[in-house]
């Protein structure tokens, strides 16, 4: 594995988006993963529609009764992958733009599908495997506990104590190392794309240290493959 890797440098990541006051982070994590997978499969970076997921995806989690994808009230990336597989794909952002509101009728048009899911799977709670899947398959959908993200401005977040209760969906796009004055040596971190606009964090991105499942970042990692057009 390379010591550092960043899918932004390889053209697989769209600009940072903004979910607004809507608990639709799960849909942004889902589209981000499929945008990357679609880029790897087709060579084209296409921004995909979160609003399609917000309006049309009501897939339920088979493990938890009553836990279904529910627009601004939350969802789960794996369920959204399942929906996307069943629906036949996701439309382009421009064909089904984001409004940040739910309870609208589904306007999915299957003649305008821009990316299709071939398959998806979960990655084991092993940081080497997470890194390997990231490099091989593209950006990964991950869940995290976001308590420290409310006050985050920059740097590498590495809290001494952080709950592993997952409450936020984000996109893992790379990893690197940087000097930590506290530890007095280089320490590894993950690079995470968030969906709170580019004014938040480091131009919309979050760095969190690797190595001990901080804030549960390694707990729910999903990789996806897109259908190749060739």
């Amino acid at each position: 594995l390379p010591s550092e890797f960043d899918w932004r440098e390889h053209g697989a990541v769209t600009p940072v988006k903004n979910q607004g006051s809507c608990g639709s982070c799960w849909s942004f994590s889902t589209t981000g993963a499929l945008e990357g997978a679609n880029y790897l499969a087709t060579g084209k970076l296409v921004s995909l529609s979160e609003q399609q997921l917000v309006d049309c995806d009501h897939e339920c989690d088979p493990d938890e009764k009553g836990s279904c994808d529910s627009g601004c009230n939350g969802g789960l990336m794996n369920s959204a992958f399942e929906y996307t597989l069943k629906a036949g794909g996701l439309m382009r952002e421009e064909d089904y733009p984001y409004t940040g509101t739910d309870r609208a009728a589904c306007k999915f048009d299957n003649t305008k599908v821009a990316a299709k899911v071939a398959n998806f799977s979960v990655v084991s709670l092993d940081e080497e495997q997470i890194a390997a899947n990231l490099v091989k398959n593209g950006p990964l959908a991950v869940a995290i506990n976001a308590v420290f993200m409310q006050t985050y401005i920059g740097g590498v977040s590495c809290p001494y104590i952080c709950s592993k209760r997952l409450d936020h969906g984000v996109l893992l796009v790379g990893y690197g190392t940087g000097y930590s004055p506290i530890r007095m040596k280089d320490k590894p971190y993950w690079i995470i794309k968030n969906s709170w606009g580019d004014k938040w964090g480091e131009k919309g991105y979050y760095k969190i240290c690797r190595g001990r499942n901080v804030c549960g970042v390694d707990s729910m990692v999903s990789t996806i493959a897109a259908v190749s057009t060739s």
């Binding site: 594995l1 979910q19 006051s21 809507c22 608990g23 639709s24 982070c25 799960w26 989690d61 088979p62 493990d63 938890e64 836990s67 601004c72 009230n73 939350g74 969802g75 789960l76 794996n78 799977s121 979960v122 990655v123 084991s124 495997q129 890194a131 390997a132 899947n133 091989k136 869940a143 976001a146 308590v147 420290f148 409310q150 006050t151 985050y152 401005i153 920059g154 740097g155 977040s157 590495c158 809290p159 001494y160 209760r165 997952l166 409450d167 936020h168 004055p181 506290i182 530890r183 320490k187 709170w196 938040w200 760095k207 190595g211 001990r212 549960g216 707990s219 729910m220 999903s222 990789t223």
Partner: protein, 110 residues
């Protein structure tokens, strides 16, 4: 193991109090920077109290998370519950779905 350090994470110095003395100024800057307006004086007073609590929280986060920078963000006038309700949205869980396909183990050496 070198990550396990003993470090004081509760405030006991004057630094925090010094920051809190300027809280009016911080709140004015916050409103200007993020274009925040409030419908009534009552709402303004409430948001100011939330902002003060969040400033203390940011300082606490800074102590717990010294390699990052914590401070005023666009969410500084929201309570943690409001923040969760409006900006987080993963259906809470601690484990992977049992029926999910497992990714094959990839070689990670050479």
């Amino acid at each position: 193991n070198d990550d396990i350090l003993i470090r004081q994470v509760v405030g006991d110095d004057d630094g925090d109090d010094h920051h809190m003395l300027n809280v009016d100024h911080h709140f004015t800057n916050f409103k200007m920077r993020f274009g925040k307006t409030y419908a009534s004086d009552e709402e303004h007073r409430y948001r100011f109290s939330v902002f003060k609590a969040n400033l203390r929280r940011a300082m606490q986060h800074q102590k717990l998370d010294p390699s990052a920078v914590h401070g005023v963000t666009q969410f500084s006038d929201m309570t943690p519950d409001e923040f969760k309700r409006k900006f987080l949205g993963v259906n809470r869980r601690l484990r992977l779905p049992s029926d999910a396909n497992k990714a094959p183990i990839l070689p990670t050496e050479d």
